[in-house]
Structure formats: structure tokens, C-alpha cells
Amino acid sequence: MAELTICLGGNPNAGKTTVFNKLIGAHQKVGNWPGVTVEKKEGNYSYQGKSIRVVDLPGTYSLTAYSLDERIASDFLVKEQPDVSVAIVDASNLERNLYLVVELLELGANLVVDLNMMDLVRQKKWRLDVEQLSKSLGAPVVSTVANRCEGLEELQEAIAAAAKCQAQPLKIDYGPEVENALGQLTASINTPSRWLALKLLENNSQVKEWLQGWPQGEKILHKAEVLAADLGKLIADDPETYLIERRYGFINGLMKECLAKPLDLAERISLSDKIDKIVLNRWLGIPIFLLFMWLTFKLVFDLGSPLADYIDGGFGWLAEATKTGLGENWLASLLGDGIIAGVGSVLVFLPNILILFLMIGILEDSGYMARAAFVMDRFMHSLGLHGKSFIPMILGLGCNIPGIMACRTLESRKDRLLTILINPFMSCSARLPIYVLFAGAFFAHHAGAVIFILYVLGIIVAVLTALLFKSLFFKGQVAPLIMELPPYRMPTVKSVLLQMWQRASMFVKKAGTIILAGVILIWLLSSLPVGVEYASEQSWIGQLGKVFAPLFVAPIFYRAVRLLFYGDVAALHSLHC
């Protein structure tokens, strides 16, 4: 049992994951938050004999939930109340990063502020007065360069010290009108919570929902509404806008107190901006994007497939050896034909998937992923998708499994679902042999052209399906694009490899559970009724194939249909996916 629970919060791209990796090392528990497909990471470290549990929260810009990620983070911070919260701040982008810090301090979180990426601050020759910042915020502030392990001892020390005391919530002076309304509202809430009153004036839907369960909830909500309306008239603005601007005003004051930027008037153009001049160039942007996609595609399939063949061969040998060793009986068939061959046929994807996640990790950590979305957004948006959806689509042409797995980089649920749903229409390479079979049989003279048309048709169907689903199921849900383009960074080998391993191991776990069950089911269908030759025309799966074969015009396609039945689970791989 951990004696302390702490959480890491912060804006996306502030280096949260790096800090987490450095604190925990490789022994991380990776899973999903309950009920949603958002990655949850946690782990333990010990400090001065105490075991400390660390939860890594999804990146968020504020405590108001606009996305699933943000809802999870704010729910955790507000409801679970960890012993210490660590706000990871990108010190080179201080002003905007401090917004979340201020919100956390107003909430009364026991906060340690970690000014990360201090090396960039030094590079820019900014002078940052850490002590003054700590004093003005009323919270301990540490500076780190997490990817070089600088300052991590101090961070651990600060966390341990913060756990021993209880922080007072930060009080920003919002001016007489707001303070008056806040005073009246806190008086009617039994627990004196300025934060709660602030959120009510802001009309925060999560907090309102939460309050409905309180005995006096309805009354408080009504009072808040009246007060917010009156306040709106007094300040001639919507209260939330006013409060946000006041908070930024407070941050502005902090910046003046604590940060001195060098006085050279000619602003230095950063390396990141220089790279973007080329990478996001009007003419070069799209070719460069396509080049990166092509490179990813090539590496995933050209480098992965020979390795996959070795694994395939290995499992084939193991299955044969099992069958020879155990003799002709059902157990040998279950183990050899069913489990080993079946699970093997999924695990053969492992090299492709490892390389895929390696490439995705590099694209994400370097900062290019956001650029790819920037370049492709216009096109993908016209289909109701997000710029980032393009990558899973391209990968789908190689194999739909890594294509669908790549969808986890999409933030909104709608984008993820739509992209997953249309991905199978991208003709994966496993379909090529079937296309060749059909095209050769019917259009012997134009086989090449027909195969090309089949590919294009798949893409057109994918586009049409996207448009259809968009108007049927996701009508009016247009997620805005408000996306930060973070500065480019050199990805670290360790972090990229760790991410690759974590994501790939989730795939392996699935191979051991759901896919194993599917494989056994298919083995049963192939072996019953008792006495038939395995997966022959007489077996149940063979007969199912026959039922559907007439739909495909000629009996020679019986074989193809039977292969399709084995589908994603088994036979596609025997056709070289």
C-alpha cells in the first residue's frame, strides 16, 4: 500500500510524461481510465522509506472539461483530492501554463509547481525569479530539466515537504462587484468554499451537476443563478469571461514581477520557427507530410514483414511439432491448429506494430504530429474528421490492425469512432491476393487496372461512409480545432522505446485474452461435426463458407470466402498481411 498518493497534472507538451518516466522508471501500470479509452498510467517510487503512488493525469489546459481527457483530469483533482498535486509547467511558455496553476491553487490543491524545461529558459536568456514566483503563488516552486534528470531530487523533496502541510487556497482579488457576489454565495454554502462559489458564478456544468446531489443544492444553484445574472449586468460582461480575464491579469502581474526578458528588440527566430518555415511551407508542406507518411509506411511494412515471416515460421514449426508430439487427437489439434496457429497468426503482427508505435512515438515526441494535423486538417475536416485522422487511414492501406491502433492518438471520441469505422475500407495488403484472384478470373486482360480501381473504390467508400456516419450519428458535432503547435524537440530514445513497449504490450495482452477466445471458437467451427477433416468443406466453417459462396457468383470462390471467414483472426495472415 502506498502511503501517499500524488498526481501529475499540466498542459499538454509540458513534459509531464518525461517527469513521470523519470520518477517511476520502467515499472509502470498502463491501462485505461474506467469506462473510457484514455490511457491511464500510474506507478510507485519510494522516497525516504515511504512508498509514493503517482498517477499521471491527461494533459489539460484548464479545470473546465472540454474533452474527455480534461474531464478525467479535473474529476480526479477535484474529487479524489490527492495528497499532493504536481503541476508540470513548461517554463519557456510560462504565461499560458500558469493559468492551470492558478486554477489549481484556487481549488486549494496541495500543489508543487515544477518549472520544467528550464534549459530553454536559459537558452532564451530569460531571467526567472523562482523565489519570487513561489512567494506570489504561495506554493513551492522547483525548477527541473526532466529529460536530463536535473532537479528531480529537489522535486521529490518538495513533494515530501508539501505532503506534511495543508495549503491555503489562493485568493485573487476580483474587484468589489465579484467579491460581493462571492461573499453572498459562500455564505449560503455551508462549507466555506470560495472555489465552489467561483465555479458557480462561472456556470461550470460539472460543478452544477455535482451540487444537485446536495441537500441544499437546488437552493444554492438558484441563488448562484440570480447572483451571476446581477453580476453580469454590473460588470457588463459574462461573469466567466470576466473571471478568466482577471486571472490572466493576475498572471500578467506575476510575469512582470518574476520574469525579465532580454532587451534586444529584434526578436530571435527560434530553431523551431526555422524548421516550420520549411515543413509548413505553402508548397513543401504537403510533399513533406507525404514523404513522412511514405517513410512510416515503408518502415512498418518493409522492415516489419520479413520479421513477421520469421515469427510465422516459428509458430508454424511449433504447431507442427506439437501435433507430431501429441499424435492424432483432438488435444493436439486444439493446441496446434487452434491455439498456437491462431495466437501466432496475431502475434506475427508484432514486428509491424512495434515499428508503427516507434514511428508514432517519434512523430509525437518530436512535435511533428501536430504539424501533420495542421497540414491535412482542411481536407480531413471536409469529411467531418480531424487532421490527425489521416495517419490511421494511410496505415490502413498496409494493414487495418495498426491503422486502427493508431487511432488512439485522436483526442475526441467522435473522431476516434469515425476513423476506426471507416478504416476497414482502406484496402489492406492482405486483400491484395484476393483482389488478384478475382481480377485474374474475371478481367484477365485488365487485372492491373481492376485492382487499382478496387483500391480507389475502397477509398471512395471510406469517404462516403465518413460523410454518411457524420450526418447520421454525429450531426452538428463539429469539434473545433484549437491545437497548440509545440516547439520541435529531439525525442529521447528511452522515452520513445518505453512508449512503444507499453502500447505494444497492450496488444500482446489482447492476443492472450480476447483473440485467444476467438481462436478457440474458430477451431471449434473448423473441427465440428466430430470426425471431419480440419477446416474442410464438410466442417461447419466450410459449410458456412458454402452458404455465402453463391453470393459471390462462382464456386471457385468458395476458397476465398472461406478465407474471409477466418478473417482478421487467422487466414488473412496466411495471405501475407
Binding site: E95, R96, D238, I244, F374, V375, P480, I482
Partner: protein, 77 residues
């Protein structure tokens, strides 16, 4: 001084934010990202296909679609 909206600015042009129309979640999201009144915002570039745009505000790069950018009212000094 002339009142404009963000997506009518040219590449490289700087302006001061005077407010965000459309009283919605979108407005508050933009505010929290630092697009508050009085802030200087610069259009850094337009994506190769004409949308979205890349702006610099509070020292960082943010990309917005034209749809979102047209809600941001600005004045050019």
C-alpha cells in the same frame, strides 16, 4: 485603428484582441488559451490548403480554423 476579425489579417500581421463574439464554450476555451482582450496576436502562417491558420499569442503557436478565427475581433494599430 480599424476593427477586424482575426481571419482577415494577412500573414505576418499583428493586431490587438478586442473581444470574442459568440457567447459559447468555444469562446471560453479560446480565452483560457490566452486570447484575452488587449493581447497582441500575430498571424504566423496559413496552412498549405488555406485552412487552418497558425497564430502566435502569449509567446506560443496555436492553430485555429478560419471558422474559429473569425470569432476573434481585433484592431490593427
Amino acid at each position: 485603428m480599424s476593427a477586424l476579425v482575426l481571419n482577415s489579417l494577412k500573414k505576418g500581421q499583428k493586431a490587438r484582441i478586442t473581444g470574442i463574439t459568440n457567447n459559447s464554450d468555444l469562446k471560453r476555451r479560446l480565452l483560457k488559451m490566452g486570447l484575452v482582450r488587449g493581447e497582441i496576436i500575430e498571424v504566423e502562417r496559413v496552412a498549405p490548403l488555406g485552412d487552418p491558420i497558425d497564430v502566435v499569442v502569449k509567446g506560443y503557436h496555436l492553430s485555429l480554423r478560419q471558422e474559429e478565427a473569425k470569432l476573434v475581433e481585433v484592431e490593427v494599430a
